[in-house]
Symmetry: C2
Subunit: 147 residues, 2 copies
């Protein structure tokens, strides 16, 4: 599938994968720490970590030779997933936190809670349907199809 959303989901289209990336973005690197945070069976965690390494989002890094132990660090591609996780967090906080927001992002300097929104870096305008429209491009030539 050429759709970039579908291509992203080929890499992360599974509940655990996104939660593993969430933890990695919060600084988790060790197998045991992922397991504790996620309350996940070791064989499933091992499989999801391996898939994220194969997809190029995490890489293994040896931190002990005897016994041999690796941890898992984000690649640049994995770090770039952060806006997706933040957008999910903002959506969850807005709609599914009737008792109050359990996790929020605050400005390190002011301590004020952030309100994450998507804007277009080119024009500075908010990403809304009224302002932007989807365009399908012909990948081979870069030419645009008629809509």
């Amino acid at each position: 599938m050429q759709c970039p959303v579908a291509r992203s989901l080929e890499r992360v289209g599974e509940w655990w994968s996104i939660l593993i990336l969430r933890d990695a973005l919060n600084g988790v690197t060790r197998f045991e720490a992922f397991q504790k945070s996620l309350d996940i069976a070791p064989n499933i965690l091992a499989r999801r970590l391996r898939a994220l390494v194969e997809a190029g989002l995490l890489e293994r890094r040896r931190y002990s030779e005897r016994p041999p132990r690796d941890d898992y660090v984000l690649t640049p591609c994995g770090r770039d997933f952060q806006p997706v996780v933040i957008a999910m967090m903002a959506w969850g906080n807005r709609h599914f936190a009737p008792e109050g927001r359990a996790v929020t992002l605050v400005d390190r300097e002011t301590g004020i809670e952030a309100d994450p929104i998507l804007i277009d870096a080119v024009s500075g305008r908010p990403m809304s349907d009224r302002i932007f429209r989807l365009t399908r491009n012909a990948p081979a030539t870069g030419e645009r199809e008629r809509q």
Copy 2:
């Protein structure tokens, strides 16, 4: 789970759900149109649509009485999922489109391709680790735990 990312994934934590929302955000409402776009088995599509209705992201709307036919329209909660899909699209376009970006968002006025980034609406600053930190709140009292 109290994490807002986990709560979001309870609603959409499945490949098809996110692709169905992507299509709904692009204006698809009819069962047949989802099926054609997604190339998905009818029973699986019916199940995913029902789950999204139960989760409060889509609602059924009768468009024909004889024969009885419903289509599926986004609720306000479902429309609010758009930043997640746009963030996924931007990530997919950046990392997994070696032959060129198949789908992009362009400014309706200028035709210039958008570069979607997340900023904090309060301070206007980009959402980055250096500027923001995660805070866990105690939901019952709203009090902050020590980090």
